[in-house]
Amino acid sequence: MDIRLESIHHSYKEFEVLRDITLDIPKGKIVCIVGPSGCGKSTLLRLIGGLEKPGAGRVVQVGAPPENCLNPLTYVFQDFALLPWRSVRGNISLVLEDHRIRGAEATRIIDDVLARTKLTDFADALPKQLSGGMKQRVAIARALAVNPAVMLMDEPLSALDSQTRELLMDDLVSLWCRQPFTAVYVTHNLHEAVRLGHSIVVLSRRPGRIREIVEIDTPLEERQMGDTDLDLKQKYLWQLMRDEARAADAELLNV
């Protein structure tokens, strides 16, 4: 199943946030969206997942979601959004219960996603006992449990320290290599973008428009730290963004 955005516009009252966004999100690819803060990245993600209605244009789904997919468009939030009163297992079972998946079937799915995110030993821990990186792995496990057609990730690693972020990027890469998933990955971190993105969409400052789409052909598993090609791409992206970021920063001061 692919997602297509057809000339999306969006405003909050008089305040124009997104202008004329047309974009294809092909199956099995990770599309990164980068842009200065406040340019409408989170808004775009909410529009894609149906948490908000676009002012104009539409988001369409091309083809059917795979079978046994419980929730085609599934979010991973920056602040994890785990229920603090449920254990790791309980947080994952939360999203299965409404699909009448209980008992042995639920246990099978939960054990599977916990193993894939290396959380098996923490199944009964409460969120308050987990570090930030672990919490985000729980959120990723929860997203995997519903077997999503597209994962919508809003700065999933931004709340974490840089070492944890590297570790989680490795985990995401190995997850993808074992079983390619489709994802829209919003970030303001260009290093994450060149590490995880098959294509990188650069948005301009508000109102967000697509400035450029940069493709990276190196397979995910071959992207190493210090790869000159990736460094060049990252430098190029930074050049694209620098002026926008500076202007956006100055704009925020004038509010």
């Binding site: 948490l51 419980l70 979010y75 959004a81 219960e97 409460l126 308050k128 929860r142 519903v146």
Partner: protein, 275 residues
Amino acid sequence: MSDVPLTAPSTAPAQTQTIAFRGGGFAPHTHRWVGVAVFVVLILIAEWGTRTGWISALTLPRPSDVFKTFGELYSSGLLFKHLGPSLARLAVGATLGACVGVSVGVLIGLFSYIRSGLVPLVAALFPIPKIALLPLFVIWFGIGEGSKYALIAFGTFTPTVVATYAAVDNVDRTLIRMGQSFGLSWWSIVRKIVLPGAMPGILSGLRISLAIAIILLVAAEMLGAEYGIGAYILQAGSLYDLERLFAGVVILSLLGVLVSAIIAMIERRVLGWRT
């Protein structure tokens, strides 16, 4: 780092001084025994004062006499005769008020029209001294148990509503968005996200509501109650029998401490997830 020393080497060793600690305070703990000690000291002062005549017997009954009265009350079996009906009234009235209060509070927290309609009404009902309405309740529900239940229930209802809808308002919206994004049904979101998230606020509201219920118990037993702690206190009060009055008041205080301890226990069990 550079090799150049930061300070010029001097012949005399520099004076040393430990940096003074200035980060303490502003973090109160609970020491259980301090609370008990305050009670004991106050009672001892009262006992000593009344014995030496420094406090006249008309101002304050002697604690040991109050204790004696309490003992008589217990041995004559009257204690449970009074306590039984009171606890029943408290249980029925407070349960009714708290249940309706929590339900209405959740509805106000969830639906715009109910909120717009009921918030002003609750604000209008809150400051009414419920005791003033006792005659009205007697007319509506009769002089029997009905009016007593109603008074206690009504008094518990308003603070519970206010605490509950504030608690529902404070539930983390990102958790609700998360529930929606996973396609949970409306009822699942209310049951599994909104209610547990509001539980800390609801329980701390219940602490206040139940204390108010105990206050209203005395008022409810002012009319047509033969037995009950409130009736006992009122009888003693009309005779200026301070020992019995205080014995009754002590029972109410103990009831308050007990209720608060029960809620603390529930909080420890239900809210263990809080950091």
